[in-house]
Amino acid sequence: MPLSDKMLKELMTTFQAELQEHLGTLNNGLLSLERNPAPEQRASVLSEIFRAAHSIKGAARAVNLKDIETIAHRVEDFLASIRKGDVSLTPQHFDTLLTTVDAINTAMSFHLRSEQMPAELMAAILARLDDKASSSSACVPSDPTSFSAKPNAAPPLELFREQPQIGPRSIQADETIRVRTAKLDALMDGLGELLVMQMRTEKLVGQMKTLQERTIHWQKNWRKARPHYNRLRRHSPKVDATDLAALFGFLESNEQEIKALSTEHNALMARVTNDRNYLQLVTEDLQNGIRRVRMLPIATLFDLSPRMIRDLGHALSKDIVLEVQGQETELDRQALELLKDPLTHLLRNAVDHGIEPPEERLALGKPRHGTIRLCAEQRGTSLVLTVSDNGRGINLDAVRRSATERGLVPSEKVADLSEREVVDLIFYSGLSTAGQTTDLSGRGVGMDVVRKNLEQMHGSIEVETKPNLGTTFVMVLPLTLTTSQVLLVRVAGETVGLPMMNVDRIVHVSVTKVGSIEGHPAIHAEGRLLPLVSLTYLLNLSEVEQPLPVDAKIPVVILSMAEKHIALRVGGFLSTQQVVVKPLGSQLRRVRNVAGTAILGDGQLVTILNISDLMKSIDAKSMTSFTQPIATKQPRRWRILLVDDSITTRTLEKHILENAGYEVLTAADGQEAWESIRQKEKGLPDLVVSDINMPRMDGFVLTQSVKGDSRYAHVPMILVTSLDSPQDRLHGMEAGADAYIIKSTFDQRELLETIERLIR
């Protein structure tokens, strides 16, 4: 019976899904057989893959795909003979069978393109299958678009690799269904409406509570009037008895009615509150449930790895064992997609560069086989994904060399880089330390993409490497991509959101504490002077920033992204919230500075900003567009008194402090410093930084003198010295020093941060 086109199309889709699942079973079954399991397990795996081949044969026949049917048939026959014991499996057989599995996939791709797999290709596959006894490595041409058969070289690694990867194993095939992501997203939207309804119910409950207050108020009034009522009743005044009786009757029934009303109202309140609570529970559950439907076990990602590692290992003649842990951990679908490439790259690197060839390993006293471990773990609201190997470790010298060769780091600076900084260099594009780029990796474009993908998911990646012990990559990602935490701020009368992951700090900066860089407002933060940029200006929201009174405090958000910091002036802080960041609709594909919008609980829309764009905008334009002089008197600079007997040290420190925006006075010893303080001609310094070992008066005595005098005791004193012993520290503290910094661990940041902290 001829099938209608529509029927055929639907059948094809179903067949494709079924095919992927069976191919997955075959793939995993073969891999597990290869590892030589116990006899009972072996028998069951064999049955499983036999059934899979059989099913493929039958299904292919149903949709009239003869080539797939034929291949599946041959595989089925072969597996049958193995089950019977007529043939025993050799390593070459595994290669053959696995590549045949790939071949079926290739055949399917041809069909999807409405083409037919070329006859030569088909013949080659069948020949290989029939040729089981011999160990010919006659290669089947790899990609379907070019049929130049490769000469007898190492088995092509990209064999059938262009095709869509073999699908994930179906854990319980009959218990799962495929759902389009768009449908799930629509469900989430509907849920949004439910939440708005919930908020309205909340409001209703609030209003009911207010009603309750009315009855209470009534009862209070009645209690006040009651004594009068009682008196009147007892001494009925000279008025019409029936009038009085009616009135009294009314008052009494009034009281009964209100009592009844109050009781019923309370009962109703209780019921409504219950319903409200239940609604909240149900909505939350539903919300979580729908969110989790988008989540898949990470096994769907990990499943691709064993095969890849095996093939790569064989190609490079390395013996590698892959250990996988945490496959059941679930992750958002989108995140899984974005992780695919980074994971592939990291695994390839581990095989290619990390694990040494077996002879080398044995010579080093390591076990012959290298181990790569893949581990997924949920920690709180994050997923931690680890890829580690016990191979060579990253060759830091090679990285250093490559960095200077490619001009990433000038050669003088390279030696100064800490180990951590050197390791970090591998994430820069264009850096490859492989001798020659192999087919697999070493093209130098991988690691930066890895980091970029992770940042796109609001995640991060860290590396740890020890020479000869191996390398570990740790990736951290949020479990759901759909929601993120944002800080809501007011800007020019509007509310906007800033992603919390980029927010370092929020501060209220007193106007008097605002310094300047080249005439533009700047504040001290992160140990240096950051230009203070107005968010209003940055977003082109208004021409004029409101002027501030002298004693006002400016709300400032310090944002950071990949080591860069900016200080943004905003109108005010509102709150932090967990929101779903949604795109702006099909007309607004990309708007500068805007990441998307979020719908708050009450339906209000809030624009969420794109921090990367903001930073670029600041870089691109000049400071004048964004910084507006705060409309008050010009603040004076902080004054620091620097005391040290070494002229070199004095010059160096003065330079550092002046660069940070301070005014610096110097003294060559404690006595000079003390006299300068007592003179007060130029006014008291705001802070003193002093060495300890000095002639005439040392740092300890200076500190004691300053702190001992009530006129100067408020001036912060920082002792900077090379004396690092507990007694000296104690001595310094006892003298009254506010901070004690050791010169040997002395670096700019610590000093500047301490000053920033203490200066008032």
Partner: protein, 195 residues
């Protein structure tokens, strides 16, 4: 408090109660006249008319999926978006952009008022293979008219070529009838300002 959801089939023209009566009466009148009209000139085009700045505009009702008063919904501006984007609106938890055609055509922007409405329109973009949905801002809602084919004239030369390409034609009372397919397939309405 809870908004009654009008069935789609009703071609939901959600206007104020006092307007509804007027619209219905007009419709009844026109429907009553229709057979006679059909005999005369063939096809009629039903348009919803409104003001936008200084312009009087008609949009074929067939192409309008929804009409909503702007003040009844949560909407916000979008910083750094081009001037013809008034902002974005939340309609039943779906986000749509709000476009001011007048600004797109080069006229100065005006702030929305409480009479402002938004018209939800939709089209498939053949080249992109993606559906585009957006809302068009109106300053108010006027009435529903029926136009005959010969009511539409070519636009006078005072109207720029760009605007003309967005119109099906202009009536004798200077009502500009929109060609929605043309507007929605104009690549310049898409905002792609990024890297």
């Amino acid at each position: 408090m809870m908004q009654q959801k009008q069935p789609r089939a009703q071609k939901a023209v959600l206007a104020k109660p006092q307007d509804v009566r007027g619209i219905l009466e007009e419709r009844a009148r026109l429907l009553a006249r229709q057979p006679e009209k059909k005999a005369v000139s063939g096809e009629t085009l039903e348009v919803l008319t409104f003001h936008l700045g200084t312009e009087y505009i008609g949009i074929p009702t067939e192409q309008v999926h929804e009409v909503q008063p702007l003040s009844k919904h949560h909407w916000s501006r979008v910083p750094c978006a081009p001037g013809f984007i008034v902002g974005i609106v939340n309609l039943r938890s779906r986000i749509y952009s709000i476009m001011d055609l007048a600004v797109f055509w080069g006229l100065p922007p005006r702030p929305p008022s409480d009479k402002s409405h938004i018209l939800l329109v939709r089209a498939d973009q053949a080249n992109d293979q993606q559906e585009i949905e957006l809302t068009l801002l109106t300053d108010d809602l006027d009435k529903v008219c029926h136009l005959r084919a010969n009511d539409l004239n070519a636009a006078p030369p005072t109207i720029s070529a760009k605007v003309q390409s967005h119109l099906k034609g202009v009536t004798s009372d200077m009502m500009m009838v929109l060609d929605l397919e043309s507007i929605l397939s104009d690549p310049h309405i898409i905002v792609r300002e990024g890297d």
